[in-house]
């Protein structure tokens, strides 16, 4: 089996006249945890949204688990089945209970029976320690709980990789930890993860590599200790100075 799960080669992305991603190259090994950071507008969310085709690219190549991600529906389906995603705003389905949120995609996409989907859903809800809230609606939960449900919902598809798009940015400070703990648990279980986050403590603790982006380019990347201790680029230093000053 190929050791590389996700590969991006010379990816270019434009929004109209705005050059959002400039010659992005990235390889992610199986089980690798990557933290993407950078100032807002630097293209980090765009980058991970390209991996599951929420954004289309202008040129370049993206390969996920051996499948070339083209615009063909089959390729898009395959990639989305294997890659889970969590959003800043959770995006739970408000008209469905926590359990139903988790059961829908396995039933519709993986064609699981209701019983099997429910068993899977309960397993992952327990794993994010929210099993006792299964019959509630999202609005009845706190932000931290909602984000954990969103993680469970993505895990129910048993993805090979998880993308996190600023999963703690919309949370009240006291709820950040419960979500990060869940993500750390996931990392320890060997999940391949790409996380857009400013939680540098999390990056230090679990990341194999930290990548710094600015203006659509990958400026610098490295193993977390080296990255935080001696950033090579002036911009990385400036960014880290800004961000670490608050912690």
């Amino acid at each position: 089996m190929d050791d590389i799960l996700i590969r991006m080669e010379h990816v270019e992305k434009w929004y109209g006249g705005f050059h959002a991603l400039k010659d992005v190259n990235l390889t992610v090994r199986r089980g690798e945890k990557i933290v993407l950071c950078g100032p807002s507008g630097s293209g980090k969310s765009t980058l991970i949204r390209c991996i599951n085709h929420l954004e289309t690219i202008k040129s370049g190549r993206i390969t996920v688990d051996g499948t070339a991600l083209t615009d063909s529906p089959q390729a898009v389906d395959m990639v989305r089945r294997e890659v889970g995603m969590c959003f800043q705003q959770f995006n739970l389905f408000p008209h469905k209970t926590v359990l139903e949120n988790c059961m829908l995609a396995p039933m519709r996409v993986r064609k699981l029976t209701r019983e099997a989907a429910e068993a899977t859903a309960r397993k992952y809800l327990d794993r994010v320690r929210i099993g006792n809230q299964a019959d509630k609606y999202p609005a009845q939960l706190s932000g931290g709980q909602q984000q954990r449900v969103a993680i469970a919902r993505a895990l129910c598809m048993e993805p090979k990789a998880m993308l996190f798009d600023e999963p703690t940015s919309a949370l009240d400070p006291e709820m950040v930890k419960e979500v990060l703990d869940t993500m750390i648990g996931l990392a320890h279980d060997g999940m391949t993860m790409i996380c857009v986050t400013h939680e540098m403590g999390f990056a230090r603790q679990v990341a194999d590599r930290v990548i710094f982006m600015a203006e659509g380019e990958i400026i610098e990347e490295g193993e977390p200790n080296a990255f935080f201790r001696n950033p090579r680029h002036e911009r990385t230093r400036a960014f880290l100075g800004e961000i670490l000053a608050h912690h």
């Binding site: 995603m85 705003q89 389905f93 408000p94 008209h95 829908l104 995609a105 519709r108 996409v109 598809m157």
Partner: protein
């Protein structure tokens, strides 16, 4: 003291029955075709979007009376013979589909983009995305407006009299001519309309308040 005989009352009741029936037809047809119009309006395909927009523009931009005329007198000119029945059913359905389609189009677009992004990310296809995620939420927020349109449609059925339908308004006119009690008869007809429309409006308003308090 004005009064009506049993015959006149039966006649008005028949008219009332037709009014309810026409409303039901327009509404049921409107729901089915309105859904298609709404889905067309938000489709990826540009031609579909344009077609749905055109449909809405035509039926919102012309009076229902004229639409009834065109179907009833126009289709026979094209060699299609339609009974008054069918003509009214077609016209009311088309009319309702345009208005409901536009109401639901707005509701669909009011659902936050994150909902369809999450559906995409989970690998859900169009059908599941629409019918499991987007439409249930959209129809819920559009319920008050939908009920409001139902009330309009119910009153609009009085125009079916133009192609020979004896619904409530037309029945009232006939009874009034026979009994020379226009004020009383039309007063009664008005009360009947009110008794049908007001509970609907009330229901729609209550739903609106309930929805705004519902945590979901």
């Amino acid at each position: 003291m004005p009064h009506l005989g049993i015959n006149e009352i039966t006649f008005l009741a028949q008219g009332l029955k037709w009014t309810l029936f026409l409303t039901a037809i327009g509404f049921c047809g409107g729901i089915v075709f309105g859904l298609l119009v709404a889905l067309g309006r938000v489709a990826q395909n540009r031609a579909l979007r344009m077609a749905a927009a055109g449909w809405i523009a035509v039926f919102q931009g012309t009076p229902l009376l004229m639409q009834l005329f065109v179907v009833f007198f126009g289709l026979p000119l094209l060699g299609v013979n339609v009974s008054a029945w069918l003509a009214v059913a077609i016209a009311l359905t088309a009319h309702a589909s345009a208005f409901l389609g536009e109401i639901w189009r707005g509701a669909i677009q009011a659902i936050p983009k994150g909902q369809s992004e999450a559906s995409h990310a989970l690998g859900l296809h169009y059908r599941s995305r629409m019918f499991d995620i987007i439409l249930p939420q959209a129809l819920k927020i559009s319920l008050p407006a939908t009920v409001g349109f139902l009330v309009q449609l119910l009153k609009g059925t009085s125009l079916a009299a133009i192609v020979g339908f004896i619904e409530l308004t037309r029945a009232g006119q006939i009874v009034s001519n026979q009994t020379y009690q226009p004020l009383f008869v039309f007063g009664l007809v008005g009360v009947l309309y009110f008794m049908m429309c007001w509970p609907l409006s009330y229901w729609g308003r209550r739903m609106e308040t309930r929805l705004s308090q519902d945590p979901r």
